[in-house]
């Protein structure tokens, strides 16, 4: 699934990485606990989280994730945006809550750990 499709489906705003929206992600992971995320290695995954601090960006960077969606209308700090820019990570922000955001992506074919036709 293209990052631009995620943006549209979640009615999300692009915080940074506008030029990378045509990149693809193949799986997704939703959590506010970073070690849960770190337990889950999949290529080109998107992270959905309600947590706001720089460790979210570092966690995504460690995992080679190229997109983070902040749920519940949370906005990343300037420092987080800077870290994301350095690492080439796209940041999106949606008003939807975690459960709904994950459900929408799942329903549209972005399943947790395998690829359907997306």
């Amino acid at each position: 699934m293209k990052i631009s499709t995620i943006k549209d489906l979640l009615d999300a705003k692009v915080v940074c990485g506008e030029e990378e929206l045509s990149r693809h992600v193949y799986s997704a992971c939703g959590s506010d606990m970073m070690s849960d995320v770190l337990a889950y290695v999949k290529d080109q995954a998107v992270l959905l989280t309600g947590l706001i601090n720089s460790q979210v960006i570092r966690t995504a960077e460690m995992m080679d994730m190229n997109c983070i969606v902040f749920v519940r209308a949370k906005l990343p700090t300037a420092e987080m945006i800077e870290l994301a820019r350095e690492s080439g990570i796209v940041l999106l922000a949606t008003e939807k809550r975690m459960y709904e955001a994950c459900g929408i992506l799942y329903n549209n074919g972005l399943v947790g750990n395998r690829v359907k036709n997306v």
């Binding site: 601090n53 966690t59 960077e61």
Partner: protein, 141 residues
């Protein structure tokens, strides 16, 4: 088995925002060396978990990364409170983290199990009241 490169970092225990910087730097260095992405990811995640643990549980410490032809070795040493029961600490879900740490996104009790999962070798040397040293290795071939 000769050491090709080593990196040394001081991990500040007072600044949660900066925690993980050493791991980010190591990831960059390993990329420059052209190591396979899968190896880099395993080293980065294991070191990052260990680095965060030093900050949230032990007040900081030092990190050393040694790269040889055959493996990447990560040694994390702190002078924190130590770990009383290592086999308990290794269990998924076991954590002594406070609510404050949990609100920062850590304290799922997954860090040490992740470190074990992503490395080929891991040993924990810990004395209560003196500190903890964790050694991990990821084989390159």
């Amino acid at each position: 088995m000769s050491e090709l490169l080593n990196f040394h970092f001081v991990v500040d225990g007072d600044d949660f925002t900066c925690a993980g910087q050493a791991s980010v730097q190591v990831k960059k260095n390993l990329r420059q060396l052209g190591l396979p992405p899968e190896i880099i990811r395993r080293v980065s995640i294991a070191m990052y978990e260990g680095e965060i643990n030093m900050v949230i549980h032990a007040g900081g410490g030092v990190a050393d990364v040694n790269i040889t032809e055959d493996f990447v070795e990560i040694i994390l040493a702190d002078k924190g409170p130590g770990i009383k029961d290592i086999s308990q600490a290794m269990q998924e879900g076991y954590s002594t983290a406070t609510d404050n740490i949990r609100s920062l996104g850590f304290g799922a009790g997954m860090g040490l199990p992740n470190m074990k999962r992503y490395t080929d070798y891991m040993s924990i040397d810990s004395v209560v009241g003196e500190g903890t040293t964790i050694t991990m290795k990821v084989n390159i071939n």
